[in-house]
Each structure stands twice: as C-alpha cells, then as structure tokens.
C-alpha cells in the first residue's frame, strides 16, 4: 500500500526534468575546459611575483610580474583558447618552481609546450634546456649546437622571448666573455645571477 509519505515523495522527487539545456551547456563547457589554459599567480617567490600557465600539453607560459589581465589576454590571443585561473591545475608546476627556487630541486619533471614557436626558436630553447644546472653555455655555442654558427644574435633574441623562463633555462646562456647580458625577468641581470648562483654555477 502506498502511504501518503511515499506518494508525496514520489510527486516531489519522482520525475525530474530531462535537463537537456543544462546538459548541453555542460558538454560545451567540458570541451572548453579540455582545450583551456589554466593559470595561477605566485605572489611571492624568491625572484618576485610570477604568473604560471599550463595547457593540456604542459607548462605553456611563465611571466615575471603581476599583470594578470595582460598575461591572460596574451595567452588567449596567442593560443586562441580561454584561460581560466585554477590553483588545482597549476599546483604541480608551481610547487616544482618553488622547490627549485629554494634550492630543493635541480631538475624539473614537467612537460613544456613549445608547439606554437618557430622551429628555430624551439631548437634554441631545447639547446638551452640541454645545458645542465651548474653550467653555462654561450650564445655562440648554442648557435653552433643547432647548426647555425653565425646566428648568435638571433639565438639571443629567441632566448629573450622564451615563453617559459626558469623551467627552460635561458639564464644558463651567457655572452662569449661569460658576462650576464640581458634577462627579461623582473630584476633583469640580477635575477639571472640569482638563478645561476642557486644552481652553483661560477659567474664571471
């Protein structure tokens, strides 16, 4: 026998709507999330504030500073997808960066996404990434290493536009005389020197 409670409960809870619209919107959102870029801000790191962005293929950008709006605008324009702020998604990258900056980590275990760069830029960054911590290479050596011995200046430019500083160690590339020319991070050359000292490199 159906009692009044069961009958009322069935009326209230028995027949939910199909929710087609809500479910369609959810599917669209999921598509967007799966293609999205996720970022988070690191307010105080030993080298000042950082913005870190991660896509589905790995870390995609690191920027010194706090200009979140500019960072997002550039990411979205460059990659044509939406950027969302998320602590969760970026936490692994951020924690490795912090470990590295506090001297507790030598090598990063993160994928990096360099797919939107030109072949030349990518080769330069890969060559820089091959320089082990504690060592430096010169622009000329990188240029020679990628088979373009005359292009040290272009190598310098490619490194200056490194979208993923710190993790892709453009700071390990120095001038022929060993001097630390140019670093686009906050604090400029001082930051470059800081990173190299952290890694135990001998600085000229």
């Amino acid at each position: 026998m159906m009692d009044i409670i069961e009958e009322s409960l069935d009326t209230i809870y028995g027949t939910p709507p199909a929710g087609t619209d809500a479910l369609n919107r959810l599917q669209n959102n999921v598509q967007q999330w799966q293609n999205a870029i996720w970022y988070d801000a690191l307010r105080d790191s030993p080298v000042g504030p950082l913005l870190v962005a991660v896509g589905n293929h790995g870390v995609i950008a690191i920027e010194f500073g706090t200009d979140e709006t500019g960072f997002v605008r550039e990411l979205e324009a460059r990659h044509g997808v939406t950027a969302f702020r998320s602590m969760d998604r970026v936490s692994e990258a951020i924690s490795q960066i912090l470990q590295y900056l506090s001297g507790d980590r030598k090598l990063f275990e993160l994928d990096v996404d360099l797919r939107d760069l030109t072949d030349f830029q990518r080769k330069v960054l890969e060559a820089a990434a091959a320089v082990p911590p504690g060592y430096v290479a010169t622009y000329g050596e990188i240029a020679a290493g990628i088979g373009k011995p005359k292009s040290s200046r272009a190598v310098g430019q490619a490194l200056a536009r490194n979208p993923i500083p710190i993790i892709v160690p453009c700071h390990r590339v120095v001038a022929a005389d060993g001097s630390l020319t140019g670093y686009s991070g906050a604090g400029g050359i001082e930051t470059k020197a800081h990173l190299l000292r952290l890694e135990g490199a001998t600085i000229a």
Binding site: T11, I12, Y13, G19, Q27, W33, Q34, R89
Partner: protein, 183 residues
C-alpha cells in the same frame, strides 16, 4: 600533465554520468537556476581534480560525492524555496480546495525532508530515487554500509511519524496541520 592513459577521457565520463548526476542535483535543490549552477560547478571541480584521481576509483561514486558536497554548500547558502509543481499537478482538474490541500501537503513534506539531517535526506534520495546500493551510498556519504541503511530507515520513519500525527487529525484541517508540522 595530461590524464593517465588508463583513465577514460573526462568527456566520456560526462557523457556517461552527467544526466544521472543532474537528476540527483535536481532532487537535492529543486530550483532550476541552482541546479544548473551546481551541475556546472560540480563538474568543473571534478574536471580540475580528475588528474589526481586514482585510475581504480569508482568514477560514478566519485562524481556523486563531488555533486553531494557542491549541492550541500549551495543549500546552506540559500533560503528555502517553494516547491516546483509540475504542470499536471497544477492543472489536475481537481477542485481548487483539493489542489490547495495537495499543494500544502507536498510543501510540508518537502520542508520536512529538507529539515532531515543531511545524511538521512541524501541517503533517502540516493536509495529511493537514484536507486544506488547501500554500498555506493556509504562511499558517497563517507559512512558505513550499516549507517547508510539506517539513515534511509530513520529518515523515512521520521517523516512518517510527523505525518501520522497530522493524518489522524480531522480531515478538513489536514492541510493546516501538516503545514505547521512541516515548519
């Protein structure tokens, strides 16, 4: 950083379970805007946590668990809403007094369900309407299987007790009595 190969892509999970989770959230919140917001919210949380989820986890129960927490947070933050009456109920051809009485009864039952401790309320909905096993309910609500069973039983018993009193009252005042009980 991508999801492990052994886990299904997240959108596959959404295709498989979103409609069921929608019905669950609807049963919990019963307010269209809240239901939609909560659905999107719950799946975003799930998406963000998916990389860290063990590949052997029960994905369905895990989604339920996130939906349950998200719905509960939303319930806490809102005022009670009136019941969502389906069309046929409003236009049932019954005399207007009868309709009013039915409406008040449903309102009272709904209020009484919402006043139940959350584990009793959720266990009841999960068992009776989402048709989950006690074992699944215990995973979702983080209780023992026995507690899940007891929660369903206690919840129903509490509701019956409230409305038995009302039922035994004089019929013409039924609606009034019930709505007082339900406050």
């Amino acid at each position: 950083m991508g999801t492990s190969n052994k886990k299904p892509q997240f959108d596959i999970l959404v295709d498989a379970h979103a409609a069921e989770i929608y019905r669950y959230i609807w049963r919990m919140l019963q307010n269209e805007q809240d239901v939609e917001d909560c659905l999107q919210d719950a799946f975003l949380k799930a998406y963000l946590a998916y990389d860290r989820l063990d590949e052997l986890a029960n994905f369905r129960a895990w989604l339920y668990r996130i939906a349950s927490n998200t719905a509960r947070t939303r319930l806490r933050g809102r005022l009670r809403t009136g019941i969502l009456l389906s069309e046929e109920l409003v236009d049932s051809g019954l005399p207007i007094e009868q309709q009013t009485q039915n409406h008040l009864r449903l309102e009272a039952v709904k209020n009484a369900v919402e006043a139940l401790p959350h584990k009793q309320r959720e266990s009841l909905i999960l068992r009776k309407y989402q048709e989950l096993s006690y074992e699944e309910i215990s995973t979702i609500l983080d209780t023992s299987v026995e507690s899940a069973r007891a929660n369903v039983y206690q919840g129903l018993k509490k509701l019956r007790a409230q409305f038995e009193i009302a039922d035994s009252m004089a019929a013409p005042n039924l609606a009034e009595e019930i709505s007082e009980v339900g406050q």
